[in-house]
Every structure is written in C-alpha cells, then in structure tokens.
C-alpha cells in the first residue's frame, strides 16, 4: 500500500518537473504597475492575474512555441509568441487603448448627438423634447452655439454664414433640398422626421475633407440601423395627423410613415396677419428599408415624398392690395447606402441620392416654374492599420440640373437654367500618437465642369488631452463652394467662393457636465457681387467680394445635479462684415446678431408623470438700412426675446398628451423694416416692421403607440 502511495507521489513529482514557469511584470506606459491584468498562454488553461506590484508567475505544461496574451480593460492587448522557456522575467508595457472613452477626441468645431458619441451634447430625446424645436431637427440644433437666431427664416445660419453655406447629409449622402418651402416670414422646417435618426453630428467649422461644397457648416444625420420593435404610431395634432408603422422580419425591416398637415382649422381659430386664400396643406410620406447581411454589412434604402401647397396675401407697404404669393411644391428624395467590411480591416461605404424638386410659384401676377434634378454618388474606403493609424479616401460626383421658366403678366416668357456637375476626391488620415495626442490631416480636390475650375483644399486638426477631463484642439481648413443657384441661373461666369477656418477649442467634461469654449476666425474670398437691386439677367456679376467672421462660442450642459433636471446654455459672440452681393461697402449682414443666448431646461415630475421644459432665446438687434439716414445697414432693430414652454404628459405607457407654446409671453419681435420705395410728401420714406405672422404659436398633440410590449411611446416623436 505504502508503495502505491509512493509511486503516485513520484508521478506527481515528475509531472511537476515537466512544468515551465512563466513570470514577469506588467506596467502601463509610465511604468506604473497594473493590478489584475489577465495573463495566459493562448489555447491552454494556464494563466493568472497580476498582483498589486504588477507581477505574475504561473506554471504550464505546454511546450515549444507558445503565445502569451496579456489583456486588461482600457489597454491594448499584448501578444508575444516565443518558446515557452523564454517567457521568464518579462517586462511588459501595455499601451493605452486609444479607442477608450477617456482618450482624446478630435472634436474642434464639432458637436455630436446620439448614443455612439463619446461626448454627447444632445441626447436622442432632446431633438423632440426641446421646447421651441417643435420636433424639428433644425429647431433643436438652433439651441447650440454658433447658430444665429433668424426666426423668420428657420434655416441654419452658422458663424456669419448664409443658410446656403450649410450642407446636410443623410448616411453620408447629400440632401439637396432639406427644407420645406414656406412664404416670407414663416419659418421653415426640415422635411424629414427626426425619429428616423439615431445620431447627429453638427460641425460649425473645420470639418473633415470628406465633406465639401459647404463654406460654413455640415450637418450629418445617420439613420437607425435596426429598429427595436414592430409598432404602429398614431398622431393627432391641432395641425394635422400622422400614422407610422414598422415591420421586422428576418434580417429586414421596413418603416413607413405618412402625415397630413392642414393649417386651416388653426388659422380659423387663431387668425394671423396674413390673408390665406389657401391655407398651408402638406402631405408627406417616408419609407426606409434596411437589410442586414451576415457579416455586419448593411443596405439601406430611404425614400421621401412631400407635397406642399398654399396661397397667401401678405401685407406689404409697397403694394396697396398686399403681396400675393402662391406655391405648389413636389419633392422626391431617394437615398441608397451600403456599407461592408472586407479583407484585412478594410471597410467600404457607398451610396447615391437623387432629388427631384418641382415648384410652381405665383408672385403677384407673374408665374415661375422651377424644376431641379440633383444626384450624388459617393464611394469611400477606409483602412485601419492599427488602433492608432487609419486612413480613408474616396470620390464623389454631384450633378444638378436646374431649369426655370418665368412668365410675366404680359405673357413674356424667359427660360433659363444650368448644369452644375462636380467631381471630387478626398483622402484623410487619423493618427493617435498616444491616448493624449491625436491628429487628423486631409486633403480634398474638386473639379467643377460648370465653372471650369479645379480647387484643392487642405484640412487639419490636432487635439491634446491636458488633464483627466480636459482637452485642447486646433483646426484649420480651406473650403470651396460654387455660388448658389440663385446666381448660377443668371450667370455661370464665376469662380468658387472660398473661406478659410481657424479654430481653437477647449473642452472640459465630467460625468454630468460638459463645458466647451471655442474661438474661430473665418476669412471669406471670391464672394459673388452684382450691381443691381436684385440678382437678375441684367446684373453684372463678379467674384470680387470678401469678408470675415470671428467669434467665440460657449456651451455648458449639466444633467441631474438638480434632481430630474437637465439644462444647457449656449452663448455665441459673432463679429462679421462682408462686402458681397450689392453692398456698397463692407457691412454686417442683416441676418447677424452680435450676441446670441439660448437656455434650455427640462424637468421630469415623477408624480405627475410629466416632463416640463422651457427654452429661452435672446439675440441682440440686427442691422437694417434706413433710407432716411445716410449710410448702408445703418440702424439696428431692438433685441429679440422668446420664451417657449412645453409639457409632455404620459397618460399611460403608450399614450402621450403634448402641449407647447412658442413665445409664450407674446413678445413683439421685429426682424427688420421694409421701407416704401418712394418718399412721402414730407420727403421721408415710410416703413413697415417685418414681424412674425403670429406672435405666439400653440400646439396640442395626442400620440398613441401600439406595440406588442405595450411599453413604447412616441416621446421620441415629439
């Protein structure tokens, strides 16, 4: 018996002898020991964790060449392949994982929203729960710094740029006609429903070489990859009704929605300052189909159709019977995008979009029929060499065909139009020198066949993380954009307009707050000038205009410090002058306010199952020209003030009642003045204030979601 035990014992001994000890020490790049790193021989059970000194030691029966793996959260995994006998007293330095959330971010000029973003300035729900936004993407973006309050227009005016200087992209593909048409003084809205998008990137300057034909800003909207569930949404609103449905099967999903808006009942109840011959009616339909392939590749088809129709007579000092404007607009947008991974860390993204926009306008007794066909094709390749070095490059082609027929009261007809085709290529690289220092360098080349011009624009940005929660960034870029359609339709003898951006940014983020301050300077060259009151056939156009914009944007957001309360403040200071259009001298354009402030707050009251919120906007006065005095853009309107309120009440898990009031205090805001063309008997020009059609706007809606889980609601649609 004793013998057996002895034999067993010696077998154990023998097997101990056949083992190799693997040992060493694991530290970070600054030689601080790492506690708890996981160390093992790949494909075996042998391994251990490091102690507080970063040391490890374990035995293995494995022989020959083995692969040692060292992994720890927030660090890149370390791999060493060698003969097992050599894996002794190793000194292993783990490199920081530059993809982790606390790594430096290349962010100069950019705001990100959505759950994927490392620093989110707007959460998905914000688009739809911000008072004043009325469920419009552009409305919510206008509470961010860098935007100017031009509330009679509704489009995005960024850092002293005109609205046309901002371009909008859905899934990387250009949108040519993002805004719904309206009459003068009635703010426009985006054509697309906000709940189709999961992430939004808003760049107010210095953006990537991937994007061109935008002098001031790009807004990137990404649609949802995978809807979470099948459901039907029903909306009943004071201004119309809507219905939506989502179906999911296998690897496919289809969402459709349709809405019908009719402002007649509202305008009957709350008459505004216009005489509506035909109140605004619009019908919109959208559909999005998504197919997910096996290997994470994805195809999305998105289509939207909208029809708008109205006829209005607006009070105008120069027309005794008012200014007559009628519009009928049909807009079709189609966008297809495909992305796929292939080979060794390669990715391809490609897509195209097509827009057809037809408008029939009545302007007094004249009629204008416009037809625009635009298309965008794009292919982009992306290669990740390592976590620290990535490149992307691609090409794109824009084609626009624009035709307009102008018929005067005398039946005299004018026909004109243009083809604006442009080919562009871009290349860009992202380099992480460390977790604290990163740079992006890119270049973009464009060839416009319409202007017969070739341009090259370099872009660069660098970010340095100065502390645990803070970082500095710098960005520079050159941007070119062909003159807008309003000029191209009368003349094509142009150069591209051009601007350079210089941006410096500081950002401090902690769990529940974000603070950022950004200073910028923009230099505009080759702006279009003309010598007539309005741009027309007889105007003499040149590219001799120029201008500048400089300013400071500040953003502060805090969540939850006050219980159930979330708020953000934006402040923009803007100093800009331009000598363009028909300006006799360089002057600050009339869409610019020197100071812009927005304050947005939301509070959830659990007992009332309600979210209440307000938005306060303030902007200093805007320039206008008073012909009774000497000079150009020589006077300023009073300051702009608006307080908007909203209240969302959850009747139960699937029914929401929503109220909102824009400009609740009924402040009489003035956007400028319209002067009579001829002086009165005393030799003075009489004037009329340009004011909103209605000071205050009310909205009541009831939203009902029908889904299997009986839990979703349309809070995200509001």
């Amino acid at each position: 018996m004793r013998r057996i035990v002895c034999i067993l014992f010696s077998i154990c001994q023998l097997s101990l002898f056949a083992q190799t000890t693997i040992s060493g020490k694991v530290t970070d790049s600054k030689n601080n020991p790492i506690l708890g790193a996981n160390i093992y021989l790949d494909g075996t059970y042998d391994g251990t964790s490091t102690n507080e000194k970063g040391e490890f030691s374990f035995k293995s029966t494995a022989k020959g060449t083995q692969t040692l793996v060292v992994s720890f959260i927030s660090f890149e995994t370390f791999i060493k392949t060698a003969d097992v006998s050599l894996l002794k007293n190793l000194q292993i330095k783990l490199r920081d994982d530059v993809n982790s959330l606390d790594a430096v971010i290349l962010n100069a000029g950019t705001f990100e929203a959505g759950e994927k973003a490392k620093v989110t300035v707007l959460k998905p729900l914000d688009i739809v729960t911000t008072a004043s936004a009325l469920g419009d993407v552009f409305g919510a973006i206008q509470t961010l710094p860098g935007t100017s309050t031009v509330s009679e227009d509704g489009r995005l005016f960024v850092r002293g740029g005109e609205a046309e200087e901002t371009q909008i992209f859905i899934d990387g593909i250009r949108v040519f006609t993002p805004y719904a048409p309206t009459a003068n003084n009635i703010p426009t809205r985006g054509r697309y429903s906000p709940f189709l998008f999961k992430g939004i990137t808003f760049s107010t300057g210095g953006y990537s070489a991937e994007y061109g034909q935008a002098l001031s800003s790009v807004l990137l909207l990404n649609t949802i990859d995978e809807p979470d569930q099948e459901k039907t949404d029903i909306s009943l609103m004071t201004v119309g009704l809507g219905v939506g449905n989502t179906q999911i099967w296998d690897k496919n999903s289809l969402s459709v929605n349709a809405s019908y808006i009719n402002l007649a009942p509202y305008q009957e109840a709350f008459p505004d300052r216009n005489k509506w011959n035909k109140p605004v009616q619009s019908a919109n339909g959208e559909m999005i189909f998504r197919h997910q392939f096996k290997d994470d590749s994805m195809l999305k088809l998105y289509g939207a159709f909208s029809y708008t129709h109205f006829d209005v007579i607006q009070d105008d000092i120069n027309f005794t019977d008012g200014f007559h404007f009628g519009l009928q607009n049909r807009n079709l947008y189609f966008n297809a995008s495909y992305k796929n991974k292939f080979g060794d860390n390669w990715r391809i993204e490609t897509g195209f979009s097509f827009t057809n926009d037809q408008s029939n306008l009545k302007i007094m007794e004249d009629t204008v029929d416009a037809n625009e066909n635009s298309a965008h094709f794009k292919v982009k390749l992306y290669k990740q060499f390592s976590n620290r070095f990535k490149i992307s490059f691609g090409s794109e082609y824009f084609a626009t065909n624009f035709d307009e027929n102008y018929t005067e009261i005398s039946h005299q007809k004018y026909k004109y139009g243009f083809d604006n085709n442009l080919f562009a290529s871009f290349a860009e690289t992202d380099i992480f020198f460390s977790k604290n220092l990163a740079a992006k360098i890119g270049i973009r080349a464009e060839n416009s066949s319409l202007l017969n011009e070739f341009t090259v624009s370099p872009r660069a940005s660098i970010s340095y993380k100065s502390g645990e929660n803070s970082q500095f960034s710098l960005a520079y870029g050159q941007f070119y954009q062909n003159p807008k359609n309003d000029y191209l339709k009368f003349s094509q003898d142009f150069k591209a307009e051009n601007t350079s951006h210089f941006i410096a940014n500081f950002q401090h983020t902690k769990n529940n707050h974000i603070f950022r301050i950004e200073a910028y300077f923009k230099d505009y060259q080759n702006l279009v000038k003309y010598d007539s009151e309005f741009a027309n056939f007889n105007s003499n156009f040149t590219n001799n205009g120029n201008g500048f914009a400089k300013g400071i944007d500040v953003f502060w957001r805090e969540n939850g410090k006050i219980k159930n309360t979330d708020y953000w403040v934006s402040y923009s200071f803007l100093d800009t002058e331009r000598d363009y259009k028909n300006y006799p001298i360089a002057a600050t354009p009339n869409f610019v306010s020197k100071h812009n402030i927005s304050l947005v707050a939301k509070h959830f009251i659990t007992d009332l199952k309600s979210q209440i919120g307000f938005t306060y906007n303030f902007a200093t006065g805007r320039n206008y020209t008073n012909p009774n005095e000497l000079g150009f853009l020589n006077n300023q309107t009073k300051n702009y003030n608006s307080l908007s309120l909203n209240w969302a009440y959850l009747i139960d898990q699937q029914k929401i009642l929503y109220f909102s009031v824009n400009n609740a205090l009924g402040t009489k805001n003035v956007f400028g003045y319209n002067y009579k063309n001829t002086p009165n008997a005393a030799g003075n020009f009489d004037r009329q204030a340009i004011i909103p059609n209605a000071d205050t706007f009310f909205f009541v809606g009831f939203f009902w979601t029908i889904s299997n889980d009986k839990k979703s609601n349309q809070l995200d649609n509001l």
């Binding site: 018996m1 067993l8 391994g47 994982d97 959330l101 998905p124 999961k198 979470d228």
Partner: protein, 207 residues
C-alpha cells in the same frame, strides 16, 4: 479499516484527476466567484473560452461577470470598456449557440447596465430592444424560469416608473419559482435558477 479509508480517499482523488481540464477549470472559476473574486473568476472563464472554442458557457459566464461588475460604476469610461468587453464575450457565445434564451436574456441584462447608468442617453434606444429580447426569449423557451423571472422584473421596473401596480407580475414570479424548483438540468455548468433572488423579487412585487 485504515486501509479502506485510504483506498476510498485515493479513489476520490483519482476520480478528481479523471475530471477533464474543462471541469476543473469551470469548478475553480465558480469557486473564485463564490469567494467574491470576480475579476479572477471572469479571467479564468475568459481563458477557458479561448480553449473551448465551440462551447458557449465559458464566454457566457465571462460576459455575465463583466456585466454584474458594471452595475454601480460612476465612471462612464470604465463602464463602456467593461460592457464592450462583455459584449465581445456575448457575441462569441452567440456564435456558438444561436437563439439561446440564456444568452438572449443576458444581452438584455447588458443593455440594462447601460440604461441603469444613464437612462436618458441609453434608455430610448435600449428599452424597446430589451422588451423585444424578452419577447424573443419567451417565444423560444416559454417555461424557462430564468426567462420568466427576467421578463417579470423588467416589466415591474416599467410599472413602478409609471406608478402602476406590480401585482400582475407576482403570478409570473411564483410560476418561475415553481418551474425553477422542478427544473432538471442535464448540461453540466448550465445556468441555475437563483431561488433566493427570485424570492426577494417576489417580496418586492407583493409590497
């Protein structure tokens, strides 16, 4: 007599050594877990999963441990790193066992980790997804006590938020407890039904 004891002792010892490396590894990982050494346990599961490439259990447990460790974290960077790692493990488990209700409800638990951290940021997207995941798991395994309990807890959370009674879910929990007691598990190291925890949830429900 003495010899007999020795013999029995040896027999047990031999029996232990007759265990596969997989069994030893898994047992060790579970005992580390019981001792509260979560990191070590998770790392051991991770090592086992690199060997047992076709077995979903080791990566399933590695994911579960990372998820449990993420609750209560204050630093979003660490939370995201842990849950990303957990997601990788879970994806590995999924590739070894498709439409597995245990993995599906663990995915819901992972999503809950994000929602619990910042409901406003993650809730809108992930809560709908979670309801879908529970529905999917219930369709596959209508009598799985862990699925029934998870689904009931999830619904109770929503009911509480809306100030509604959680009573309707008590029946589900009771049913889960009964099914849990009866459940026969024939796969080694298959997830167990945690009776004590279920009873705790039942108390909350009846209050």
């Amino acid at each position: 007599m003495k010899n007999l004891f020795l013999f029995i002792g040896l027999f047990i010892a031999l029996n232990v050594t007759a265990q596969t490396q997989y069994q030893t590894g898994m047992q060790k990982a579970f005992s580390l877990w019981e001792e509260g050494k979560m990191t070590e346990a998770s790392q051991l599961f991770e090592r086992i999963s690199t060997v047992e490439k076709d077995n979903w259990l080791p990566s399933y447990y590695a994911a579960t441990l990372e998820i449990l460790g993420s609750f209560g974290l204050k630093d979003e960077a660490i939370l995201k790193a842990k849950l990303t790692k957990a997601q990788d493990f879970l994806d590995t488990a999924k590739s070894n066992s498709e439409n597995n209700p245990e993995i599906i409800i663990t995915q819901a638990l992972l999503n809950l980790g994000y929602i619990a951290f910042d409901g406003q940021k993650y809730g809108m997207i992930l809560s709908g997804k979670n309801s879908q995941l529970y529905a999917q798991a219930l369709a596959i395994a209508p009598n799985n006590p862990r699925v029934i309990l998870g689904n009931a807890e999830w619904n109770m959370g929503a009911a509480k938020f809306f100030g509604k009674s959680t009573k309707p879910y008590c029946e589900d929990i009771k049913r889960a407890i009964e099914l849990g007691k009866e459940e026969k598990i024939d796969i080694e190291f298959y997830p167990k039904f945690l009776l004590e925890r279920a009873e705790e949830v039942l108390k909350q429900c009846e209050n």
